[in-house]
C-alpha cells in the first residue's frame, strides 16, 4: 500500500529524497480522509520553509487542511498541474499528485521520519480507533 521508498509524517505527508531534493505530497490515507479535493494552495518557488511550517492547504468538499513541510528547505518547484486538476490528489496521491519539491537543508532529517511499515502500523491504529 505505502511505497517503501518514501518516508512519512504523523500529519500524513510523504517525502521522497533524491540527491538532496525532497518531493513532498500527502498520503493515500490523507486523501481518503479529506474526500474529493477541489482546490490546492501551494507556496511560491523560492519560499524557505522550516520543518513543521505550513506550506499550503488542500481543500476538499468537506474540509480545508493545512499541509506541513516534513523537513526544512527551499521550494524549488511546485506542481502546477494540481491547479486545474486538484482531483489528481485523490487518484494518484503518491505519484503524479506530488505538491512541492524542496532543496533540503539537512538530508539526514528525512531518515528521522517514519518508514512505510511504521506508517502503515500508525495508520492501522488510527483506523482501529475510528471504528472502535
Amino acid at each position: 500500500m505505502y511505497p517503501s521508498d518514501l518516508r512519512y509524517t504523523k500529519e500524513h505527508e510523504w517525502v521522497r529524497l533524491q540527491g538532496g531534493v525532497a518531493t513532498v505530497g500527502i498520503t493515500d490515507y490523507a486523501q481518503h480522509e479529506l474526500g474529493d479535493v477541489v482546490y490546492v494552495e501551494l507556496p511560491k518557488v523560492g519560499a524557505k520553509l522550516t520543518a513543521g511550517q505550513s506550506l499550503g492547504t488542500v481543500e476538499s468538499v468537506k474540509a480545508v487542511s493545512e499541509i506541513y513541510s516534513p523537513v526544512a528547505g527551499e521550494v524549488t518547484e511546485v506542481n502546477s498541474t494540481l491547479g486545474p486538476n486538484p482531483e489528481t490528489i485523490n487518484k494518484d496521491p503518491h505519484g503524479s499528485a506530488w505538491l512541492i519539491k524542496l532543496k533540503v537543508n539537512d538530508p539526514g532529517a528525512v531518515s528521522g521520519l517514519m518508514d512505510a511499515a511504521t506508517y502503515q502500523a500508525f495508520v492501522s491504529e488510527k483506523e482501529k480507533d475510528a471504528s472502535a
Binding site: E59, S60, V61, K62, A63, V64
Partner: protein, 448 residues
C-alpha cells in the same frame, strides 16, 4: 430563529437533568471576580398594554417635519411599501444565513439574487452574502488584501469616510497592519503624486472611496494603475450605491466594499445596515463571510446552498479566513427587493435625479455672496461648500426653520473649517432646496 421562553418548572427540569442546582451553578467555571454581582440594572417586566403605551410615548418624542440635507454615509431615498411587506414575512425574519439547504431554499435564493445584483452593480465577478456594514466591509477588504499580498502596509485616502477609517484603525491596532493616510488635492480627489510617492513593495492595498466623503468621484482607473505599479491591490469603498446607477462600475478595483443602506434601507439611528464585498473570482477563497451558490439537487432541479464554507470559522476555527461567520440577511433582502422593484431603468432615473438636484442646489448656494464650492472634482449627490462663517452657527438658524443643514467638516478635517457637506437626493424637492438657499442667505445676514 425563534425565541422560546421557558417556565420555572421547565428550567428546574433541565437543571435536574444535568445535575445543577441553579442557573448560577452553570457559571462556576468563570472566576468569581469576573462574575456579575447582583442583577442587571434593568426595569421590570411590562404587560403588553404597558409596552405599547411606553413605545407610543417614546415615539411621540421624535421630531417630525424636518427637511434634511445630511448624507455623509447615510442617504434618504424613496422606498416602496412592497419592500417592507416582503421583509415582514416570517419566513425571512432572521439575520442569519441558513446552513440547511433542505429547509432554506427561499432564503438561500434571496441571498443568491442579492449577490448577483451586487455583482451587476459593481462590475465584479463574485459578491458575498453581505457583511455588517460598509465600514466593516472595507476593513475586511483590507484584511483580505493583506492575505492576498502577504504585505502589511495600507495606504488609505483621507477622503475616505472618517468613521470607516476609525473602524479600520481599531481592527488594525492589534493585527500588525501599518496604516498610512494619503491627502487630497484641490479636486477633492486623492493626491495622486503623494500616492505615487508613498507606494512601495510593502504596500498591500490602496483604499479609496468613490464618491468620496466630500462627494467627489475618484479617478479609479488612474489610481488602479498606480497601485498595480507596486503590485498593490485597489480596495474601493462605496457609501452611496445609488451612484452606480450612472457612474461606471468600479471594475478597476480588486475588491469593492460597499454600504447597502442607500439601496432600500431607511436612514435610522444605528442601523441595521448591510455591507457588501465583491471581488474577482480568483480571490474568492480569501473573501470573508458567507457565499450562497447555485447548484442542482438529486433530481436535477435548480437549487441553492452555502458554498466554500470549508474556510469559515465554524469549520476551520482559528485558521478560518475571517471571524465573520454571519451576514445581514434581512437587510440584504431589502436591497435585493428594492433593486428588483427599481430595475435598471429605475435606478438610472433615480441616480440622474440625484445629480440634477444636487447641481441645482449647488448653483443656488453658490449665488449667495461668500458661499463657494470647495472642490473642483465631479460630484454625485453630495458636495462641499465653504461659508463665510461657522457651519454650526448657520445650522442653528436653519434648525429653527426646520431644516437640518450641512454636515460641518471641521470636526474631522481641521483644514476644512467653515466647510459643510450638503446632500440632495431625489426625495428633496425644488421648493425645499430654494428654502435652504433662502434660509442660508437670511442666516448670513444675522449679526454673529
Amino acid at each position: 430563529m425563534r425565541y422560546l421562553p421557558k417556565s420555572p418548572s421547565e428550567r428546574r427540569e433541565m437543571l435536574d437533568a444535568i445535575g445543577a442546582r441553579s442557573v448560577a451553578d452553570l457559571f462556576q467555571s468563570v472566576p468569581e471576580a469576573l462574575r456579575l454581582q447582583g442583577p442587571l440594572n434593568l426595569p421590570g417586566p411590562m404587560s403588553e398594554t404597558e409596552l405599547v403605551q411606553y413605545f407610543r410615548a417614546r415615539a411621540s418624542e421624535n421630531s417630525t417635519g424636518y427637511t434634511s440635507f445630511l448624507g455623509a454615509g447615510v442617504y434618504n431615498h424613496i422606498r416602496s411599501v412592497v419592500t417592507d411587506t416582503i421583509l415582514l414575512r416570517g419566513e425571512f425574519l432572521t439575520s442569519y444565513t441558513p446552513y440547511q439547504a433542505e429547509i432554506s431554499q427561499g432564503t438561500l435564493q434571496a441571498i443568491f439574487e442579492f449577490q448577483t445584483l451586487m455583482c451587476q452593480l459593481t462590475g465584479q465577478e463574485v459578491a458575498n452574502a453581505s457583511m455588517y456594514d460598509g465600514s466593516t466591509a472595507m476593513t475586511e477588504a483590507v484584511l483580505m488584501a493583506e492575505r492576498l499580498t502577504g504585505r502589511q502596509r495600507i495606504l488609505v485616502a483621507r477622503s475616505v469616510h472618517p468613521e470607516y477609517r476609525e473602524v479600520l484603525a481599531t481592527y488594525a491596532r492589534n493585527l500588525g497592519l501599518q496604516i498610512e493616510e494619503v491627502g487630497f488635492a484641490r479636486s477633492g480627489q486623492i493626491d495622486a503624486s503623494a500616492l505615487a510617492g508613498a507606494l512601495d513593495a510593502q504596500t498591500a492595498a490602496v483604499v479609496v472611496q468613490s464618491p468620496n466623503f466630500f462627494g467627489v468621484l475618484e479617478p479609479l482607473p488612474k489610481i488602479a494603475e498606480l497601485a498595480r505599479g507596486s503590485e498593490a491591490l485597489l480596495v474601493t469603498t462605496i457609501a452611496e450605491g445609488v451612484s452606480l446607477g450612472l457612474v461606471k462600475p468600479p471594475v478597476d478595483a480588486d475588491i469593492v466594499a460597499m454600504e447597502a443602506q442607500s439601496l432600500g434601507l431607511p436612514p435610522s439611528y444605528g442601523g441595521p445596515y448591510a455591507g457588501v464585498i465583491a471581488t474577482r473570482e480568483k480571490y474568492v477563497r480569501q473573501m470573508p463571510g458567507r457565499l450562497a451558490g447555485q447548484t442542482t439537487d438529486n433530481r436535477g432541479r435548480r437549487g441553492f446552498c452555502l458554498t466554500l464554507a470549508t474556510r469559515e470559522q465554524h469549520i476551520r476555527r482559528e485558521k478560518a479566513t475571517s471571524n465573520i461567520c454571519t451576514n445581514q440577511a434581512l437587510c440584504a433582502l431589502a436591497a435585493a427587493v428594492h433593486l428588483c422593484l427599481l430595475g435598471k431603468e429605475g435606478l438610472r432615473e433615480m441616480a440622474a435625479q440625484n445629480v440634477a438636484k444636487a447641481q441645482f442646489a449647488l448653483a443656488e448656494l453658490e449665488r449667495i455672496p461668500g458661499v463657494r464650492r470647495v472642490f473642483t472634482g465631479p460630484v454625485f449627490n453630495e458636495f462641499t461648500v465653504q461659508f463665510p462663517r461657522s457651519v454650526r452657527l448657520i445650522n442653528a438658524d436653519l434648525l429653527r426653520e426646520k431644516i437640518i443643514g450641512p454636515l460641518p467638516l471641521g470636526r474631522s478635517y481641521p483644514e476644512l473649517t467653515k466647510c459643510g457637506l450638503v446632500c440632495v437626493t431625489e426625495t428633496t424637492t425644488r421648493a425645499e432646496i430654494e428654502r435652504l438657499a433662502a434660509s442660508v442667505r437670511t442666516a448670513l445676514l444675522q449679526p454673529v
